[in-house]
């Protein structure tokens, strides 16, 4: 299954929520969907499902969702942990959804068991915690065993064990040859989960590349050097046109590799006590690329570049 989002655009009044957004999702890969609050992630997902109308289109294997005979078997979506009637039992909620795809009772029980809700299957979800609501939403999304899974913040409210389970499940699901798109603010989780990233800001595409490439582009990737001859090393690097910054007891050389810095140190006779390549985290790379595109920021620093995380 190939999912193609083509020039999606959506405005709410004068506010442009999504602007000319195009990307492609491939099967067998978990794609992380990242963006600051209000960047248009949820709107994009709703447009992909045909819930929100706008410009552009989303094709599933070359066809709009409406042209597939059983759309429920093409896409399963979990957009919110509270999208259920509080007085309809969990099992009946899934029985209702099962009608869309023809899933039988055995599949319903299987899915309830899979997400860990078998014990509360006949209870009304009004007393469910946020985490249980997430599990019920996920159960509904995978009930029809769809080829495409869209998950909007599925880890919100989950305990560490559940997050670990969710991570394994999503990886397994994608590994079965399905398309999985996951939006999340838990960047450390995304770093463990996603292989590919679609990053948007103010409704526009910022990055559509592998997680590895996205992180590698960060200016926060550097080589950290500790030497008693720091002045000599800084001067030698500057002679080669390489910028370096003093950082505590050492020197940071952004964008460099250890081989080059080691060679320069050797050439200038600097004694090395530490030579470490430091790779930016996803969070640092994300904050760096989205610092100018935050729709809503704290403390009124709308246009201020975001600070990186602690090293």
């Amino acid at each position: 299954m190939l999912v193609e989002c083509q020039q999606l655009s959506k405005s709410f009044g004068r506010h442009r929520a999504v602007s000319d957004l195009s990307f492609t999702l491939s099967d067998g890969v978990v794609t992380g969907f990242l963006g600051p609050n209000g960047s248009g992630k949820s709107t994009t997902m709703r447009m992909m499902l045909g819930l929100d109308h706008g410009e552009g289109r989303t094709l599933y294997d070359g066809q709009p969702l409406t042209e597939h005979p059983k759309p429920a078997r093409v896409v399963g979506a979990h957009l919110d942990a509270k999208f259920f009637h509080p007085k309809r039992t969990a099992r009946n909620h899934l029985r209702m959804l099962a009608a869309a795809s023809g899933a039988d009772d055995r599949r319903i029980d299987e899915v309830l068991d899979l997400v860990g809700l078998a014990d509360v299957a006949r209870k009304q979800p009004r007393g469910f915690s946020l985490g249980m609501g997430q599990r019920l939403g996920l159960a509904g999304a995978i009930l029809s065993d769809p080829s495409v899974l869209l998950l909007d913040e599925p880890a919100n409210g989950l305990d560490p064990q559940s997050i670990s389970w969710l991570r394994d499940f999503i990886a397994y699901y994608a590994g079965e040859g399905r398309v999985v798109l996951v939006s999340s603010h838990l960047l450390s989780e995304m770093q463990l989960l996603a292989k590919h990233l679609v990053v948007i800001g103010r409704g526009q595409l910022i990055a559509d590349e592998s997680l590895e490439d996205f992180v590698a582009r960060s200016t926060r990737n550097d080589v950290f050097v500790r030497t008693p001859n720091s002045d000599a090393l800084i001067a030698a690097l500057a002679d080669r046109g390489v910028a370096s910054i003093r950082e505590g007891a050492g020197i940071s050389v952004p964008g460099a590799d250890t081989e080059m810095v080691g060679a320069v140190a050797f050439a200038c006779g600097a004694e090395l006590h530490e030579l470490t390549r430091r790779t930016a985290s996803l969070e640092e790379a994300f904050l760096e690329v989205t610092s100018q595109t935050q729709e809503y920021s704290m403390g009124g620093h709308h246009d201020a570049p975001a600070e990186g995380g602690n090293r």
């Binding site: 709703r46 499902l49 929100d52 759309p71 509270k82 999208f83 009637h85 959804l97």
Partner: protein, 317 residues
């Protein structure tokens, strides 16, 4: 389409509120049937012309009246089901779940409308059957014999000046009267479901569908008459619930503008005056045709349903 119907059927029947509504409608109907029966029994036995046939006819009136009840409580209860069909979806964000599973929204709109009409028909059958069974149960002397092809007096209109004894009575077959009560109910739930889909608000749909027929429309019509000094009389001819009242059984044939010299008893039957098959005076036939009133009400239901469909199709979920 079959999947959409099954989805909607399960959606409706897996909620306790649907069963509570059905149970409440039957209970309320039984209560009003019993009260109506007590009143009718007293009236019929005090009347000079009381016969077993009158008693039987009265019972039919009771059955249909139980559906309307005071302030249309039974129909309002059933209409709440229709309001909830869309209202619950929007209230709990389920429209996004539903439209994700059925991106061709027309399918789910048709299925929802179909299930609303089906469940309403089943509720009507339950309410009607319960009322008839109750009357048969309390009729220890066995005088009630329901004949669906019996002709019933359904209302009376006096012609001429106040105090005139010229009265025209209108009649209807029992089955026709019953079907009209079903027709009214089906149109009402369509209209309420449409309001719910348009407003996307369950409370607003419930309030609007309750107070519009009871107060708002009557007040608007009254004010329009006062302000326009009668020039806006045609508003009565297009007002939805004013026409609906003339379509349903106990009001059928009853003309709001005529001088009624024959009193209408608690059973809906003319309690005095001349009852006969006199032809209507020229120029007033259109005012007192229940089917014409029914068509006006149906047009409202269809127009609002069409608007609800367009809204469902075009607005973001």
């Amino acid at each position: 389409m079959r999947a959409a119907f099954l989805y909607e059927w399960r959606r409706a029947t897996t909620l306790r509120s649907t069963w509570w509504i059905a149970g409440s409608a039957v209970a309320a109907s039984l209560f009003f049937t019993w009260v109506s029966h007590k009143i009718a029994t007293a009236e019929v036995f005090q009347s000079d012309g009381a016969t077993p046939a009158t008693f039987a006819k009265t019972s039919f009136v009771e059955v249909v009246n139980s559906m309307q009840g005071p302030y249309q409580i039974v129909t309002t209860i059933i209409a709440a089901f229709a309001a909830m069909s869309w209202g619950h979806e929007y209230r709990y964000g389920l429209t996004r779940v539903t439209f994700s599973a059925f991106p061709r929204r027309a399918e789910i709109f048709v299925a929802k409308t179909g299930v609303i009409l089906l469940v309403t028909t089943l509720m009507w059958l339950a309410v009607t059957a319960a009322s008839m069974l109750l009357l048969k149960g309390v009729d220890s002397r066995g005088r009630i014999n329901f004949d669906f092809f019996e002709k019933l007096n359904t209302g009376a209109v006096g012609m001429g000046d106040a105090g005139s004894s010229a009265v025209v009575a209108y009649s209807s077959y029992a089955y026709e009267a019953l079907l009209r009560s079903l027709g009214y109910l089906l149109l009402l739930v369509l209209l309420v479901a449409a309001i719910s889909a348009l407003t996307r608000s369950l409370p607003l749909a419930l309030v609007l569908s309750s107070i519009w027929p009871l107060f708002v429309e009557k007040l608007l019509l009254m004010l329009s008459q006062v302000v326009s000094k009668g020039r806006l009389g045609w508003l009565n001819d297009i007002a939805p619930f004013d026409n609906a009242e003339r379509f349903v059984f106990w009001q059928a044939g009853y003309d709001r503008s005529a001088n009624v010299t024959a009193g209408i008893g608690g059973t809906g039957l003319p309690s005095s005056g001349v009852v006969g098959d006199n032809p209507l005076p020229p120029g007033v036939e259109h005012l007192i045709t229940p089917w014409r009133a029914g068509i006006v009400f149906a047009l409202w239901a269809v127009m609002l349903t069409a608007a609800a469909y367009l809204s469902t199709e075009r607005r973001d979920a």
